[in-house]
Amino acid sequence: MPVTSRRGGKLAYKILFWFLLISLAPMGLVGYHLINISQASLRKETLAMQESLAVGFADTVYKYVTTFKNVLTETSGLEDFAGMNPIKQQQYLNRIMQVHLAVLELSVVNAQGVEVLRTGRFLSASPEMRKFTTDEFFNETMTRGQYVGKLERFQGLYPALTIAVGIMDPKAASPKPVGVLEGKISLNGLSSMLSMEFPPAGKSAAAVVAPDGFLIAHSNPKEVYKPDARLSDDVLKIITTQMNDKGGGEIQLPDGSKLLGAYSDVKDLGWVVYVQQPLETAYQTAAEMRTQILRVLVWVVIFVFLLSWAVAGFISQPIRVLREAADRLGKGQFEDLPEIMMTNDEIGELAQTFLTMSDSLREKTGELIHAKGELEKYGKDLQRRVEARTRELKAAQDELIKKERLAAMGQMASVVGHEIRNPLAVINNSIYFIKTKLGPVLEGEQKIAKHIKIIESEIQGANDIINQILDYARDRQLKLERVSLNAWVDDLLGAYPFPAHIRVEKSLTPVNPTVEIDVAEMKQAVRNLIGNGIEVMPPPQGGAVRIRTGIADDGSAVIEVGDTGPGIPADVREKLFTAFFTTKARGTGLGLAVVRKVMDRHRGRVELDSAVGKGTIFRLFLPQAAAPK
């Protein structure tokens, strides 16, 4: 089983997928909206904050200028000052210069426009007095009582502002100024204040700009000291085209960078306070918040994923176990099935069904295996029986062939025998007639008598041969008798006419088996063997015929007939039992064929053991008779 399917399985993945879809999709949607809303509100707030910074600073700028105007107004309104006593006025001016460091110069101009007092930080002790009869600030002040000038560059460098107030005589009936108190104040203080609020190292920047775009103050004071210091036209264009006195928004610069800018008009002065910071800085909080939310979302996803994984695994675990068990069942392994959990649900029911099925399957398989075994047993038995039957049939066929052959031979022998016996009978009759007719004559004719005897002998010989052949071919019924083997052999040997040159050596088994034999046929067989033995041991040397009885290893009774003759060459042994095969000069070749036939008919066998030069032993094996009933 592959490792992957063992761990997960498709079902687990499906559950996981749907679980994630159901749980994460709404959360993702909510998260998305949350981020959008928070982003929008955060940006709006950031912009509002920036606007309020601009407004607040516009107020500061206004107060900065107003403070100086008030100082001048208060001073000019003093009785001592209105008396136009130069010494006293000089004291006041000195005092102002000491207290307010931003004041660069102070002048007192009389009603005629001639400068009467002049003191300044960069002036000599007795500076040159100027005439302001036609100057705008003098005429404006003389008619309207005060004057706030436009941006100017003190000594061509510092942004400065001219403020003038009328010197009113409190005792005079008509409020007509008796002179003008004019002061030039440095606006560097504004830059310092801006730089404190917006440090130059930071990313935010703020500026106070005149309507024509010139910089009055900047959070980075160096900007202000540049000759012709102006706010960039791109920003200026946006600010100057706004209808409201305050506002803000995102600005896209031609170089591609984005800014968040806010502005506020400074009351009465016509100046604009402008605050800017790069968009990414401005929205840093929003970005951080978004990151934070996203991080939380990721954690939630991971958590939900792991939880789903665990749940899916938990749900699919029993099914997986079931499948594993089913796999094993499929392979025919009924033992060591994985333990199946019986949960109280549909899976539990499935497991129950599965167990029932596996039991039934085990039972059925057992039956099948048993049946297969039986079948194999029957098959083997059948095969054995078929083989045995085939052997029997083969034996029967062989027997039949042998019988047919014998029958054919019998047929032939019968015909031949009859046809030869007839002429033999005729010859026999004729010679008998001659012998009888000649009678006493023959006594004088010895040679005729001898020849008649020869003819009679040959007729007898021919008749013997015919008898042998007919005997062999004859199909007569066996007449079985129970005999004691030793006694039977004893009788046979006793009746056999052994010639003098033959020794008879007899050795009979003490077991003395009982056999069922056709006495006449068996006698013929044994006599044939003895006769053969005697024939191969002719006089004068002769030899021994050894007769033994015994029991073979397979339980058969054995009759051994041995001789001490020349032995039988191996190439001859095979044909020895074939009918009409003979090694003798005269002989039918039926002696051993008869032996074999007799043994076959007795369900026994004949074996031959011969050593050339030493002798031959024939063994007749006969089944022992069953115990009598």
């Binding site: 009859h418 046809e419 016996r421 007839n422 033999l424 009978a425 010859i427 009759n429 008998y432 009888t436």
Partner: protein, 127 residues
Amino acid sequence: MAGKLPKLLIIDDDAHLRESLAEVLELDGFECHQAGDAGKGISEAGKVNPDVVIMDIQLPDSSGFQICQELRKRSKTTILIMMTGRFLSAEEKKQGFELGADEYITKPFDLAELSVRIKQLLSRNKV
């Protein structure tokens, strides 16, 4: 049986055998007649009325046993001797005896023995 020779009929298809046997038995004092087949044998027997009939079991026109049966019907005393050139089974022999045969002889015959046997059978009939 003064002057009257016992009559003997030989039935065989082999003329040499017939003649040689007849002449041998004539030497022993029998009056021998011959027939070459069953039909002639039956008619010859009817004419001669033999004391002894020697017949072959196999004849061209019939079985020797059939003649044996026929002859036995005609005479109970006639001695019937069957000749054969082959082995007869016990069953065949038994059948032959039932049909009336008195003796079997196998070719070639021991003629001296045959002659004695016939004479013995004849003398028994006389008694």
